[in-house]
């Protein structure tokens, strides 16, 4: 298991892609992880599930455009250098 920094970057890119493709309406709502479900008041502790849903929604919002760019760069690099 010899990692290089490049493999770390690739793995990170794949993970962020995986989080970003979780569709809000078709998938997350059906398993109850939608962004507007279960917010439930301004309690003290948000709880792990709402933290996770917030995280997924924010990753999707923030990383949409940068992911397009980084994915294109990665595709070109993989095509050229294998």
């Amino acid at each position: 298991m010899a990692f290089t920094l490049y493999s770390l970057l690739q793995a990170a890119l794949l993970c962020v892609n995986a989080i970003a493709v979780l569709h809000e309406e078709r998938f997350l709502k059906n398993i109850g992880w939608g962004a507007d479900q279960g917010i439930g008041g301004f309690g003290e502790e948000p709880g792990i599930k709402s933290q996770l849903t917030n995280l997924i929604r924010s990753v999707r919002t923030v990383m949409r455009v940068p992911l397009i760019i980084i994915n294109s760069v990665a595709i070109v690099l993989l095509l050229l250098f294998g």
């Binding site: 298991m1 920094l5 502790e45 792990i48 996770l52 995280l55």
Partner: protein, 300 residues
């Protein structure tokens, strides 16, 4: 000679900047290198900043002034960007160590069981630097331990005649990747469990780096005493590191935590994740294949 040096002046602009030679008392006719353009205005006229007045060429002066202003501007920009990402003052706090602190901390990492007082001391709301407080985290020991571990791994491989220079780089990047993944996992855990504490990223980096001390000791013992010594030292160092981190972590997290509904579970989650990460420590040396004389090789 005057127009010849006038011709050569254009080429000498570049050459004079690159390699200024001492002002010749006579015209140098070898190969057309004439650095002293006789046909041009007097050298040394209004040179603002430079000692070599033999760049009497005003164009060269202007070019050099422009270049140095661009260089300083670039340096300022780099500093500003660096300050935006890495606050250098906070980083300096972690490197304010001295020899006594390092010695005591290393002893604490190996044998934390008799240490009584684990609280980090504060002075007027700012934590004391490591020089004055044994419980404060520092980044000096993890950095040095990381580098020592990479070198030691190279030496261990060399003893088994499996060394090549690329292995050093590979081992260094592998270990770095493990540290980064561990810090990211810890950050994710802290975010999910909404444990509010004053644990910054550098604290997490420091705690992740402390395990390299244990790994160094294990590898050294393994080199000296064979694979039995390796496993004994591994067990000892991982248990003491676990005790160390749990003691420190429980003090730190309890201090900054908000007493909400889900907080005890958050604390449990974090401590258990820390224990799990300490268990990861034994796998790291075997993973990249630091094999000891007399033990079976598993992976590469």
């Amino acid at each position: 000679m005057a127009y010849h040096s006038g011709y050569g002046a254009h080429g000498s602009k570049h050459r004079a900047r690159a390699a200024p030679d001492p002002p010749p008392l006579f015209d140098d006719t070898s190969g057309g290198y004439s650095s002293q353009p006789g046909g041009y205005p007097a050298p040394g006229a209004d040179v603002a900043f430079n000692v070599n007045h033999l760049l009497g060429d005003p164009m060269a002066n202007v070019a050099m002034a422009y270049g140095s202003s661009i260089a300083s501007h670039g340096k300022d920009m780099v500093h500003k960007e660096l300050h935006r990402f890495v606050s250098v003052n906070k980083l300096k706090y972690f490197f304010a160590v001295d020899t006594a602190y390092v010695a005591k901390k290393l002893g604490l990492l190996v044998f934390p069981y008799t240490h009584q007082n684990w609280e980090v001391q504060y002075s007027r709301d700012a934590p004391l630097p490591p020089r004055q407080d044994l419980n404060a985290p520092d980044l000096y020991i993890p950095t040095m331990a990381f580098i020592t571990y990479v070198l030691l791994a190279g030496m261990a491989l060399g003893i088994q005649k499996r060394f090549s220079p690329e292995v050093l780089g590979l081992c260094a990047s592998t270990a770095l990747v493990w540290v980064v993944m561990e810090v990211l996992a810890l950050l994710l855990g802290i975010y999910l469990a909404t444990v509010r504490s004053d644990l910054s990223t550098f604290h997490l980096l420091a705690y992740s780096g402390y395990k390299y001390v244990g790994m160094i000791l294990s590898v050294l013992t393994g080199l000296l005493f064979g694979s039995d010594g390796y496993y004994v030292a591994l067990a000892w160092t991982s248990s003491s590191l676990m005790y160390f981190i749990v003691s420190l972590g429980s003090r730190l997290l309890r201090w900054g935590r908000s007493w909400g509904r889900g907080s005890p579970s958050g604390l449990q989650l974090l401590l258990s994740s820390r224990c799990a990460l300490c268990e990861q420590q034994p796998w790291a040396p075997t993973v990249w294949g630091a094999q000891l004389p007399g033990s079976v090789s598993s992976s590469t």
